[in-house]
């Protein structure tokens, strides 16, 4: 039996009837057509499907679409504003924080949650914070560099805006 859900994705409200067994990642990709969120391992391991739910990073392959009813979801498509890359996206670009790019959307969403929870990130806390995101190219050095750079930029812009 289909269930009606109503949720906000990247600021836009969506209403849909879904099968209870539909996983959130497939709802995002196939129903909404937002294919920036990737399916990697399908076993809650790799983190390629990471999105923000009410601001916190979650693996969207391990949540039912019905469980997202009423929630506020951000995917990689919701990060850039008015054509300007989000500071984390820009930092990945500038620090070459990707090789094949498959893990990148999940890395960026995981990083957004990490920086939100603790803007004073150290290299170690970034590495620990990425334990749920795998890069099969093993490009971690520059990913960590990019996240530290983004955290620094977000910290300093917060300082500017609080003046």
């Amino acid at each position: 039996m289909l269930r009606h859900i109503s949720l906000t994705v990247n600021g836009t409200r969506h209403d849909a009837d879904v099968e209870p067994r539909q996983l959130l990642v497939y709802f995002i990709r196939e129903t909404l057509g937002l294919t920036g969120t990737n399916v990697g391992c399908d076993t809650s391991t790799c983190g390629a499907c990471t999105v923000l739910i009410d601001g916190r990073s979650v693996k969207s392959c391990t949540m039912l679409a019905v469980q997202a009813d009423g929630r506020d979801i951000t995917t990689i498509e919701g990060m850039a504003r008015n054509g300007d890359l989000h500071p984390i996206q820009r930092a990945f670009h500038e620090n070459h924080g990707l090789q094949c790019g498959y893990c990148t959307p999940g890395m960026i969403m995981a990083a957004a949650s990490l920086i939100e929870e603790n803007p004073q990130l150290s290299e170690e806390s970034v590495r620990m914070g990425l334990e749920g995101n795998l890069c099969r190219c093993t490009g971690y050095q520059n990913i960590v560099k990019a996240i530290l750079a983004a955290a620094e930029e977000i910290r300093s812009s917060a300082r500017v805006s609080s003046r």
Binding site: E19, P20, L23, D42, S44, K59, T62, E131, N133
Partner: protein
């Protein structure tokens, strides 16, 4: 991978969840879903009905109640891992909740789900067993409490009946000055423990007044290392005494062999991790 089809109901209260669970023979509760949904994707679990209690936010709390800390079953691992009350009175449990899975998993996973799932490789059940926690359960005939030591019955099996809902976990506050440690041995950060060891020690004049030691993944349930505990009773808080007691770690255990390690390996590892846990607990 898509789970087999099921019906879905969102419970608005614990009582409604109890009632819904009674309507289908193989209904399952769904909270954070980080144990159940992976099993359903692999079709190792095929419940006919999921009763979703994920939003019963009145079960998401940590509060002091006299000598105990009570934790609502839906408290998330990520919140428990940073909870100041828990860190103050029960740092072992706060630390262990931060060792589960990864940040994304901890944002969803609940303490109640971890306990009710009954996985002997899971860390929080061992911490609760070591801390002499009590579990609060609501079922068709009302509320009851179950000590952790009689809650876990076998692999993925607990004292919970088909219509029972675990609603809270009660953990005694640790006396100030109590040492603690959790040693989790695994190859990748997100893996389950190949073996895990929880230790809580109280000292008195260079001797051990009380020691509780729990083992993860050394049998079909979390276990207390009772051989170690008796060897430590009144023992000197010195490296040799700790090492000698740690040799008793495998007593009464029945570890499995799997892709991560053989039973023999786990047996040896348990002694080393018990020693390390006792040393760290005494250093704290």
């Amino acid at each position: 991978m898509i789970p087999a089809a099921f019906e879905y109901e969102r419970a608005e209260s614990v009582d409604q969840a109890v009632q819904l669970l009674g309507e289908h023979e193989d209904a399952k509760l769904l909270a954070g879903g980080h144990s159940l949904l992976p099993l359903m994707r692999l079709r190792l679990a095929r419940p006919s009905l999921l009763v979703d209690i994920d939003r019963l936010s009145d079960l998401e709390y940590v509060r002091e109640a006299g000598d105990t800390i009570e934790i609502g079953a839906l408290a998330r691992m990520s919140d428990l891992a940073t909870d100041q009350t828990l860190w103050k009175h029960c740092p072992l449990l706060a630390h262990v909740c931060g060792e589960v899975g990864d940040p994304q998993v901890r944002h969803r996973a609940t303490i109640g789900g971890s306990v009710a799932h009954g996985d002997p490789a899971s860390d929080p059940p061992t911490a609760l067993l070591t801390l002499d926690a009590v579990l609060v359960v609501r079922g068709p005939s009302g509320e009851r409490t179950v000590p952790a030591k009689s809650f876990f019955t076998s692999v993925f099996e607990t004292d919970l009946g088909p219509q029972d809902v675990l609603t809270a976990v009660r953990v005694p506050k640790l006396a100030s000055g109590t040492g603690w440690s959790y040693q989790k041995f695994h190859r990748r950060a997100i893996d389950w423990a190949i073996v895990g060891v929880a230790a809580v020690v109280e000292r008195d004049d260079g001797h051990l007044k009380r020691a509780a030691v729990g083992l993860t993944n050394m049998g079909s349930t979390p276990l207390r290392a009772s051989g170690v505990e008796s060897a430590l009773a009144g023992a000197e808080a010195a490296p040799q005494a700790l090492a000698a007691a740690a040799e008793h770690a495998p007593e009464g255990t029945a570890p499995v062999s799997d892709t991560n390690a053989s039973a023999e390996y786990r047996t040896e590892l348990s002694k080393i991790l018990v020693r390390r846990a006792l040393e760290e607990a005494l250093a704290r």
